[in-house]
Amino acid sequence: MTKKNKSFEVLMGELEALVAKLEGEDLNLDDAIKHNEEALNLIKLCRTRLDSARQKIDKLVQTPEGDWQQEPLN
């Protein structure tokens, strides 16, 4: 799963985990810098998601066959 497909929840979870790891003691500097960079990227991605999100609103309607279908709510 690429970063783009990950849900916001997963991204936030990864971010929190990275921060927790960074706040732990036993990390060498290279790893810390790597994690830090990764975390900053995640923050950027999360913020972009929040800023660019436009709510998708659908309604469910039943077809004559009895199935339920999504269509945009006007």
Binding site: L29, L40, L50, A53, Q55, L73
Partner: protein
Amino acid sequence: MAQPPELNTTLSVSQITGHIQHRLEQDFSSVWVKGEISNLTRHSSGHWYFSLKDSGAQLGAVMFRRQNQAVRFEITHGMEITAHGRISVYPPQGRYQLIVDQMLPAGQGDLHLAFEALRKKLQTDGLFDPSRKLPLPSYPERIGIITSPTGAAIRDMINILSRRYPLAELQLLPVRVQGDGAAAEIAKAIEVFNDRHDCQVLIVGRGGGSLEDLWAFNEEIVVRAIADSNIPVISAVGHETDTTISDFVADHRAPTPSAAAELVVPDRLELETRLIELGNSLRKNILYRVKRYEDQLKAIQGSYALKRSVLMVDQMMQKLDQLQLHSLRATREKISLAQGKLAGLEQQVSALNPLSILARGYSVVTGADGGIIRSVNQIEIGDQVQVRLNDGDIEANIDKIHPLKK
């Protein structure tokens, strides 16, 4: 015929009244009574005194000011009502009466009775157990909404959800929320969402209305559907003061549809603040780490071991310099020695050169044949000889010969 009483088993009027009071007040501490209002007196104190009666009996009743202020309809003589309260005995007059704390018009009273009956039954079935409640997701990706497609509730929810958390997708399943068939539609909608299984949380509700308007959410079919849902359900029915059985059974109760929208998603602004905080703490953390490594590096630079090794290098250099100096000196000495020797040899060699002997005043005499005259016996008077001096030759004739006497 009864036996004449023993003194100690005889009760006083107060004693038996006390017993009756105890019994009645204990057994009828919370009752619903249906009847017709008669003999209504609204006292200047604000209290209401009246009787409840039906074809066979009547019951004295009082509703004090504090309680009757909450009654939202006009009561009149002859009106059918349902009252809730407790039986109280008034010993000075040997009377009992109903102290009313809640009053509803008869039809609504029936609904209340039905409400209480279903609530008790489902509670006994364990449907309200806290252990049955599902937790709500923190960041729902898809939210199912079961409500009327028209009306303020859905508009309010969409507004709030769009403002707070536009990341979530909303799926509305429009249903009737009041009237015949509403309960069945709502229950069906909950099943549909469970079958589709793509929403992480459901909001079931409607805006405010009368008890009858909200009734669908007190029907067993809806309450059971909520209880059976594998997706967490938030009930959001009416206003803050309205309570439905759906509220008891839902995984989470929201006082209003707007409140449901508030609690179902995180707030975008709060998330952004959180992200900024995380960024700051990351920055602090990495700076702290770099600083710590810097300090370590400094400590190592100042350490004895490193100083010692630097010192050792210095010493080596010094030694090397010394060695170089020594070897230079030794070489020089050797050279000058060799030079001295060479000069000696040169001297020796030049001392052996016959020409240099001439320089010291000696001369060489050669005969007519060119041979060197080494003895007087080699020449005779009258011979011509050549004498080689340091700076030239002399031609000479031999006049006399004086051999050395040995």
